[in-house]
């Protein structure tokens, strides 16, 4: 279906604007605090470090407050949220170490709010704005709800603070707001552009009702709103005290210098790296239920001097389905790996870091879509694919430097394995939850070491998964297993971290079964590629086993450990599916590992043997992919390994019968 433009939607098609432009647009509607370059220059090393450290600790306190006040498992246990301190026009000074995708676009939301809300309804002390419109900013899909608040000092907006978190359901056709059959945004949760939900320190009930009314779990969403208010309040109290002690101008000067410092250090690092360009592609299979197409995002990364240009020319047009992302998602896809791979040792001040990056992208493409394209799973679809392709290109760039290659990683867990359960819990209450087990994806291999097994996701430095017992207590389910999956990490001289799987049955719900929504690509092809000749990680693999005799097996004392043992009718689950699970159905979901690094035949055979002993690699994988030969005790046989590797080299290159020079 061709895109039908929606007249009036263009005012929400936000792009980053310069501080000067924002000031011009705001004009005299609200006063914005400022300091000049001389003041920034004048900050002494002592004051700078004292205030910088305090800003970091305030950002941490915000994250801590949000996490502990929230009611969402995705926030409290999986750290799918973030918090940031921004300057008066929204440039991000500090971002927390949580989901950095989310904070990568808070600046745009603040900026848009300044330009579009400064006159009506106006921006005053004690106000807070809520936004979940990914065309504006502040989040990647509608589930990412941001709440940002101006801090006034002496009648001027001194700075902004913001908190973003994933909300489990905000309406739309399917529970969880991921409408897997959807073709455009009207199937999904309706985006809310910035609205003043807290006015002068009080929640506006009318606005809150508009916000909550759409949700299947309004109380949970209300609780999280309060968590975000609390996080902003904590930060404001601390920032106000800081301004009182050191003066607003000095604190602002430190904010500016923090960003300048990050920018200068990233530029210095970029100058040390060779000039050149790196191209790659990231795929996604299926845009909605029933779709069997494969889509691509193409990136050409150019590094010239101290600048990086991300050119996405060649990327597929936006598509009917839920996998598109807006410009916010594109930016949110790039920033996390710029932070982890280029800025591991540089302060995370995205406002400064972003100044080193240029983005070239055609509106109307899958990772820069226009309204009303479907974006329900943008964060883990096209934004994630953007992260994958960015990872690969940055890895290529870093690999060319003897020292900086230490901080390269192959692509991590190629996608988010979305499994949403809804229904009636064991206490008789309604529930909707996203199963967050797949936070434990494998990390990509490094140039000098293996990727971390079940080590997380590229975009969340501090992800978590809940204990099996916690999930079984909270939701009507019983696990047969949760385990690391051999061979799921990309093979290589250094192996990608393995992913894992969960296998469970509906359990103890008064209605017997549960509702299940699945959206997990990477089935037709792996999504986490390798680097330097390393193989991609494994594919996503989800299976529904219908009408099994599982309950009999358990009662008879047998816990199955394989799908064969579970039995029943096996349904290979497509990328997108919405279905019910009956009491005798078993769901198996196997998420992905990280990509490999280097030729697997160059891997130390002892490391392969250790992998086999620890179930990270199967015996078959060890023999067929790594070319290692074992004796009956599982010890490496060196001579046989040499022979096997020599033969495998020829065979995989299609040269079985040809003579090859040694």
């Amino acid at each position: 279906m061709p895109v039908i433009p929606v007249a009036g939607s263009e005012e929400f098609a936000n792009r980053p604007v310069s501080p000067a432009e924002t000031r011009r647009a705001v004009s005299d509607a609200v006063r914005l605090h400022d300091v000049d370059a001389a003041a920034v220059e004048a900050v002494d090393p002592l004051t700078y470090e004292v205030i910088r450290h305090r800003l970091t600790s305030i950002t941490e306190e915000m994250g801590e407050a949000l996490k502990r006040m929230s009611g969402s498992v995705v926030v409290t246990d999986c750290n799918d949220f973030d918090a940031a301190i921004m300057d008066e026009v929204g440039e991000v000074v500090q971002v927390g170490l949580y989901n950095t995708q989310l904070a990568a676009s808070l600046d745009m939301a603040v900026n848009w709010t300044l330009r579009n809300r400064c006159r009506r309804p106006g921006i005053g002390p004690g106000d807070m704005f809520l936004c979940n419109d990914p065309w504006v900013g502040g989040g990647l899909h509608q589930n990412d709800v941001s709440l940002f608040a101006p801090l006034f000092v002496d009648g001027e907006i001194f700075c902004w603070t913001g908190a973003v978190a994933h909300q489990v359901d905000l309406g739309g056709v399917s529970p969880g707001s991921w409408s897997v059959a959807g073709t455009d945004v009207f199937w999904e949760s309706t985006p809310i552009p910035p609205v003043k939900i807290v006015e002068g320190g009080e929640i506006r009930d009318d606005i809150e009702d508009v916000y909550l009314r759409r949700s299947r779990v309004p109380r949970l969403v209300a609780l999280d709103l309060r968590a975000k208010i609390g996080a902003n309040n904590v930060a404001h109290e601390r920032l106000r005290a800081l301004c009182q002690k050191y003066g607003a101008a000095t604190v602002k000067a430190v904010m500016r210098r923090t960003m300048d410092d990050a920018e200068a250090r990233l530029r210095a690092k970029l100058r040390e790296l060779p000039d050149g360009s790196w191209s790659s592609v990231a795929h996604q299979d299926s845009a909605r239920a029933g779709d069997r197409e494969i889509y691509k995002i193409v990136l050409n990364l150019t590094k010239t001097g101290d600048r990086l240009t991300f050119d996405f020319t060649g990327t597929d047009p936006q598509v009917d389905g839920l996998i598109n992302c807006t410009y916010t998602g594109l930016r949110g896809g790039i920033m996390p790996v710029v932070l982890t791979m280029l800025c591991g040792d540089i302060p995370w001040a995205p406002g400064g870091i972003a100044r080193c990056l240029d983005i070239v992208s055609e509106p109307g493409t899958i990772n820069n879509c226009t309204f009303p394209a479907g974006i329900g799973k943008a964060s883990v679809a096209s934004a994630w694919a953007t992260t994958n392709v960015t990872t690969e290109c940055l890895a290529g760039l870093l690999d060319s430097h003897p020292e900086h290659r230490q901080r390269l990683m192959s692509a991590c867990c190629g996608t988010w394995d979305f499994a949403l359960l809804a229904g009636v819990d064991q206490r008789g209450g309604g529930f909707v939850t996203m199963l967050c087990d797949s936070m434990a994806g494998g990390l990509g291999a490094r140039a000098d070491s293996d990727g971390v097994d079940t080590g997380g996701l590229a975009v969340i430095p501090m992800g978590r998964v809940a204990d099996v017992e916690m999930n079984e207590f909270a939701f009507p389910m019983l696990y047969l297993w949760r385990r690391e999956e051999p061979d799921s990490g990309g093979a290589g001289r250094f192996r990608g971290g393995v992913g894992a799987s969960s296998c469970f049955i509906p359990y103890d719900s008064p209605v017997g079964g549960v509702h299940l929504v699945v959206s997990a690509p990477g089935k037709a092809l792996p999504l986490a590629p390798g680097v330097s000749g390393g193989l991609p990680a494994g594919t996503q693999y989800d299976v529904l086993l219908r009408s099994t005799a599982i309950r009999d097996a358990l009662a008879q004392g047998r816990i199955p450990t394989s799908l064969d043992e579970v039995g029943g009718e096996r349904e290979l689950v497509p990328v997108h599916l919405e279905t019910g699970m009956g009491p005798d159905d078993v769901y198996y979901t196997h998420w992905q590992g990280g990509g490999g690094y280097g030729d697997p035949l160059l891997r130390d055979p002892a490391a392969v043997a250790a992998d086999v002993a620890a179930h990270k690699v199967s015996r078959r994988g060890a023999e067929e992919v790594y070319g290692v030969a074992f004796d009956e005790h599982g010890h490496v046989v060196e001579a046989a390994t040499r022979d096997r590797r020599a033969a495998l080299r020829r065979r995989r290159a299609g040269l079985e019968n040809e003579e090859v020079p040694a």
Binding site: S279, S280, V281, G396, P529, L572, G621, E624, A653
Partner: protein
């Protein structure tokens, strides 16, 4: 000066790209893998990591595309992609910095 491109490749001052393991020339700066050996295989030949046949999920043919040094047959690049797509994976380091 000679620079490393990655684990397997280096670029000489004149822009020639060679295998670091055996010295065989595999390409030039603008096309580092120009002269390398490319083989397309079935995705499941990548090993047990590819859990199911792509045909379950897509109507497009998917291939495992491998690139090797012609000298020592070291695997220089591996990708699993739709067969009808060219390889988008390339790089181009500036010559003689």
């Amino acid at each position: 000066m000679t620079v490393h491109i990655d684990d397997n490749l280096e670029q000489r001052p004149d822009g020639a790209v060679a295998c670091r393991h055996c010295g065989t020339a595999v390409g030039v700066a603008a096309e580092p893998l120009r002269d390398a050996l490319v083989r397309e295989r079935d995705p499941q030949d990548a090993g047990p990591s590819v859990r199911a046949e792509p045909a379950h999920f897509t109507d497009r043919r998917v291939v495992l595309r491998l690139t090797f040094c012609r000298g020592c047959l070291t695997q220089l690049q591996a990708e699993i992609v739709p067969a009808d797509e060219p390889s988008f994976r390339t790089r181009n380091l500036a010559v003689g910095r």
